[in-house]
């Protein structure tokens, strides 16, 4: 009936949870569940991607292990979620990249770092590669600007196309239409929910990671990572603007906008991912999908390494190590982009989609139509419809 064991288990749990509902106030997953009575694969993939893994429902559940009902929603939804990434991937043939994701990402990145090092050394004079460069355009003496743009433009575009195709698969699978994505109110609600990580707070009591104490800091680490990433993106965009519009090529002074944004973002991308990985290591086994350890770590580690090499490049850019650092950084950035659609990054895309759908469903539920008002007035109404 369901495509995988994990989906089968998720279906069982949603039936248990739907007859209890105590967790209704904790997050978006349970209210979304209550709108349904039967759960298709698409429904379960939607719920799994809506789950932020705060762990509150596990700690609060009277039926979690060792109870014989064995209700473990965070772990089961993590398994379903991780399976769903593979299921929606584009092109389909690359689905195995999710299987041993840590290995795949490391390998691709190592290859790309190697290629940049080799390429630069092959095409530039050793005196240039290991020389000291300062002033405008010094990076481009190692690699022409247009080559850099062509390589990264292509990698970036590829990632975007693959992510969009994956999202289309997800959107169709959960039974959504493009009309939902054009509703401004709905999408804006989902953007706010994403930016605040609204559902990563256990309903206000906090999140759980190691034990039954709400001491979890993942929300803060995720904010550092997410906004760090956005700042780095803003840094790159500003630099592009400087280059093409203002005619002011990199590198920039430490006080210039691209460097300030990139440095702040880069610091966020050091602390955030490190914190997230540390929290993941500490996390109670019962809450984790341990079979996907590589994937859980690879993307976060890449963020950290991209940032680390970027900051090192900043520090060492006026020394003979600049050439090597540039190749290293570009190698990590390239590896990062091409593996983006094949790792943990996609969680953000699908979760945002799930939040858009949830925003739509919530509005529909709270619209005061006469039949709704009546349904609310009676005890034990038929949930949803």
């Amino acid at each position: 009936m369901h495509a995988t064991d994990a989906l089968h288990e998720a279906d069982r749990l949603m039936t248990v949870c739907n007859s209890c509902r105590y967790c209704e106030g904790l997050c978006a997953v349970f209210p979304a569940m209550e709108m349904r009575r039967a759960f298709s694969d698409g429904d379960l993939n939607y719920l799994a991607n809506l789950c932020h893994s705060c762990g509150a429902c596990y700690v609060d559940c009277q039926f979690s292990p060792p109870h014989e009902f064995n209700v473990n929603v965070p772990q089961t939804l993590a398994r379903v979620r991780n399976d769903s990434y593979k299921f929606y991937v584009w092109p389909k043939a690359l689905a195995p990249l999710f299987e041993r994701n840590g290995m795949a990402v490391s390998l691709i990145t190592a290859l790309s770092v190697g290629a940049f090092l080799f390429g630069m050394m092959a095409f530039t004079d050793p005196a240039v590669m290991f020389g000291t460069h300062v002033g405008p355009g010094s990076f481009y003496r190692l690699m022409p600007h247009n080559t850099m743009v062509a390589i990264f433009g292509a990698a970036f575009l590829y990632a975007i196309v693959a992510l969009i195709m994956g999202f289309r698969m997800f959107w169709r699978d959960i039974g959504e239409t493009s009309a939902t994505l054009t509703n401004k109110v709905t999408v804006w609600q989902a953007i706010k929910d994403t930016m605040q990580l609204r559902y990563l707070d256990g309903g206000g009591a906090g999140c759980f990671n190691e034990d039954e104490r709400p001491t979890d800091r993942r929300r803060m680490y995720h904010h550092l990572t997410f906004y760090g990433f956005l700042l780095c993106f803003a840094s790159t965009s500003t630099a592009t603007f400087y280059h093409y519009i203002v005619g002011h090529p990199a590198p920039y002074a430490w006080y210039d906008l691209p460097v300030v944004l990139g440095t702040l973002g880069g610091i966020g991308l050091l602390i955030g991912p490190a914190g997230l990985i540390w929290a993941k290591v500490q996390r109670d086994k019962a809450l984790k999908d341990e079979s996907r350890w590589g994937m859980e770590i690879a993307f976060t580690a890449m963020l950290f390494l991209v940032s680390l090499t970027g900051l090192l490049l900043l520090v060492l850019r006026a020394t003979p190590a600049m050439g090597t650092m540039l190749a290293l950084h570009l190698g990590f950035v390239f590896g990062f982009f091409v593996t983006l659609p094949y790792g943990k990054f996609v969680h953000g895309i699908y979760r945002f989609g799930a939040l858009v759908r949830y925003a739509k469903e919530r509005r529909a539920l709270h619209e005061p139509t006469p039949s709704k008002a009546r349904a609310l007035a009676i005890p034990d109404p038929k949930p949803g419809t």
């Binding site: 007859s19 509902r21 105590y22 967790c23 106030g25 509150a56 009277q62 005890p379 034990d380 038929k382």
Partner: protein, 495 residues
């Protein structure tokens, strides 16, 4: 009275509040327990026990909690609760309107049929107003009523995340305040002389230890999980009961106290019983095995015969009578039979209904006599009078000339597929308890108040709730009398 917030006054208080039930912490914990004399010993680990412990600690007492269950199952029936009924004069963020003391009192009077101690009950209701805020100060969070329980939105405050979440919050607060907690620690003997508690014998980590304390708060629940005890009143019928809470509600504290001369209250033969899915586990099936579809069909016994008016009353009044009705049937089993149009009119539950294309086939799957079930269904269908079906009111769909009748929501059962849920009595709690006064102080058989023994929660619920039930009132009894018991025990220990 305002509780004083205090810091642990004794730096020697061990930090081992969160002991692993099987770890090496046990021996150390044992040594700690042996070496101290506590101001207040709390026996039990649910809402009442924790409220008592926290309230005593905040009043300056040193406190030890002994919970017989392992850590996961701590808290007895509190694990399965979801809300509390408190009086309030105005609507709040989570409550849709006022619920006055008078209205609360009238509700209590109605559900108990007058079997309540008015003075204690009115005291509890008055105190419940403050509990609404006090419990939040202890870390508990409220939320508006859950989906499917909107009828309680005005009267009952729901725990965010349910009863276990509420318990977790109370335990964290207790640990933070330096209250000692031992799990898997069952009290097996009480030394009580002339109504005065001296010490308790505890079975812990394979040893029997004596624990001394200045005062005792008994908050260890009822005896619903003690089948042998239930059999004293019900006979072998009790073997077919399912217990909705943990197997640890064995009533051993209650029994010891009554044996040591504490006055009993409440009908010992009575328990709160609802009809739950017969496929539920023997213990701890909780809320998800309940069924509320009696009104949508007919209920037959193992001879495929109806035995009671399924359309007598609305939820929740009907909810609590069906456990008893099924208990009176042969083999304590019954079957709710309905058809396709009713399938989605009620809350889903854990197990799917038994399904068949014909009534005959359904009977076969249930192990009932096919002819008998067909006859019963056909007889019922013939007797149904036309009406306008509305399950939200006492509608005019009823039977005529049928015994027993179905007075509302009667619709013919003839649209395939046909469905059935097997049901058995599910026991929630028992009414027998220890008599207390407004200080939550136990009263001895001769009518004198105990020198230093207090009780709170289900173990004394019978004082207020002689019979019947109103949603969330068990938690009100637990929190109000728990808080009072802790405060009074601390005061008692100081003197």
């Amino acid at each position: 009275m305002k509780d004083a917030v205090i810091l642990p006054r004794d730096s020697a208080l061990p930090k081992s509040a969160n002991l692993s039930p099987d770890g090496t912490g046990r021996t150390d914990a044992l040594r700690e327990v042996l070496s101290r004399r506590y101001d207040v010993l709390v026996v039990g680990g649910g809402n009442a026990a924790l409220c008592a412990a926290i309230s005593a600690r905040r009043s300056g007492a040193s406190v030890l909690i002994l919970e017989a269950a392992p850590k996961f199952y701590r808290g007895g029936n509190t694990r399965h609760t979801r809300n509390m009924r408190c009086a309030h004069d105005t609507a709040t963020e989570i409550l849709t309107g006022p619920y006055t003391e008078e209205e609360f009192w009238e509700d209590l009077l109605r559900v108990t049929g007058g079997q309540t101690d008015e003075e204690l009950a009115r005291f509890m209701i008055r105190e419940s107003k403050e509990i609404l805020h006090w419990i939040v100060e202890q870390g508990v969070r409220w939320q508006p009523s859950l989906g499917g329980t909107l009828s309680l939105g005005r009267t009952n405050s729901f725990f965010l995340g349910g009863g276990r979440s509420m318990l977790n919050a109370l335990y964290l607060t207790a640990e933070r305040l330096g209250i000692e907690i031992l799990y898997d620690a069952e009290v097996t003997e009480l030394d009580i002389q002339d109504g005065m508690f001296l010490s308790a014998t505890v079975s812990y980590a394979g040893r029997e230890v004596d624990v001394r304390a200045s005062t005792l708060v008994a908050a260890a629940g009822g005896f619903e999980a003690n089948i042998e005890w239930l059999k004293q009143y019900w006979g072998d019928v009790a073997d077919n009961f399912l217990i909705r809470g943990t197997p640890y509600n064995r009533g051993s504290m209650l029994k010891m106290l009554l044996n040591k001369g504490v006055q009993e209250i409440g009908d010992p033969t009575q328990c709160h019983a609802v009809a739950i899915d017969a496929r539920a586990p023997k213990f701890d099936g909780g809320i998800i095995t309940r069924l509320d579809c009696v009104v949508f069909g007919i209920v037959v016994n193992k001879h495929a015969e109806r035995f009671y008016d399924e359309g007598e009353d609305v939820w929740p009044k009907r909810y609590a009578i069906w456990g008893r009705l099924v208990a009176a049937q042969p083999d304590q089993i019954a079957y709710i039979i309905f058809d396709e149009p009713s399938l989605e009119l009620f809350m889903p539950s854990l197990y799917p209904p038994v399904k068949a294309d014909t009534v005959r086939e359904l009977a076969g799957k249930l192990g009932l006599d096919p002819e008998a079930l067909e006859r019963t269904v056909e007889g019922f269908n013939q007797a149904v009078r036309p009406g306008i079906f509305d399950h939200t009111i006492l509608d005019d769909c009823r039977t005529e000339g049928l015994i027993p009748p179905k007075s509302h929501w009667a619709r013919p059962i003839r649209t395939a597929p046909f469905y059935a849920y097997p049901v058995r009595p599910g026991i929630t709690f028992t009414y027998l308890g220890t008599r207390v006064n407004k200080e939550a102080r136990m009263i001895m058989a001769d009518g004198t108040p105990s020198a230093n023994m207090f009780a709170a929660g289900e173990i004394m619920a019978g004082n207020v709730l002689g019979k019947g039930y109103a949603a969330g009132i068990g938690m009100t009894i637990g929190s109000v009398f728990g808080r009072v018991a802790g405060r009074e025990a601390a005061r008692n220990a100081r003197n």
